[in-house]
Amino acid sequence: MSSVAVVVFPGTNCEHDVVGAYAELGVTARLVHHGESELGAVDAVVIPGGFSYGDYLRPGAIARFAPAMGAVMDAARRGVPILGICNGFQVLCEAGLLPGALQKNAGLSFLCEHVEVEVASVESVLTQKMRAHERLSLPINHFEGNFTADDDTLRRLEESGRVVLRYVANPNGSAHDIAGIADASGRVVGLMPHPERAGGGYGLAEPAGRLLAGLLG
């Protein structure tokens, strides 16, 4: 049976949501304390949402120094699939595992709502079970989800099909309507929306479930 490591920093708050969503998919997910420097045998790593270190300084800026992030970097080098959701995406960018940065929303307001996203590439561990251009509704929940990178980086992302999810109606000013991106290998993915929340109290909704299941191949 597959197992997922879910990294918890002080201030992380979506860890149980991720564990619960994977449980509904029949996958065991285990919490890993930020002070651990080993992840053990895992098939994938998720860095969940929340406010690691209060989002002080910049979201993800302090979390990237945690010992567990050293273990995440090692896992990334070994080709273990890594997914950063919301604050996890911010951590991966700050740690340099993904390019660019996430700035404050253009409207300068926190946003918690359902948005429509389109699958822009199926060449990533996250989107491999999706259909190209498939649209799905996902919750967002962030103040700093406005993806920014210099023009060269954006061009490189587009040319190599590393933009994996795009907003249908851009809620936060994100460059190129980007909701999620992958690294060059397609094995490290970050996205601002929260697939684990789709369906709320009634259980994981189908297209979002397929997205999360993709991480385990």
Binding site: L57, A61, E94, A101, Q103, A106, L108, T148, D150, G173
Partner: protein
């Protein structure tokens, strides 16, 4: 050599060419209030560091290393040490 307390002001600003959504929103608000016609605002951070250092060189080194490694994200920001002074033995 004995150490003294130094205070450094590290100013972190949006890298030119990088979108500055907060600066834009403040610019709009400032113009709306008609307090300063045609003003442009860019929004950054100011960190005041209190350090123990043996001399100016040492203080500058410590502040620079913190700015580079922690306080600024070089992908979207630049930093500089705007002020540096010794305050107490």
């Amino acid at each position: 050599m004995s150490a003294h307390t130094w205070v450094a002001l590290v100013v972190v600003e949006p890298r030119p060419g990088i979108a500055d959504p907060e600066g834009r929103a403040i610019t709009d608000a400032a113009r709306h209030l008609e307090l300063a016609p045609g003003v442009n605002v860019s929004a950054g951070r100011a960190f005041r560091l209190e350090l123990r250092a043996v001399d100016e060189r040492d203080a500058l080194d410590q502040a620079s290393v913190l700015a580079e490694r922690l306080l600024a994200n070089p992908v979207i920001q630049t930093w500089r040490i705007a002020e540096l002074e010794v305050v107490a033995p």
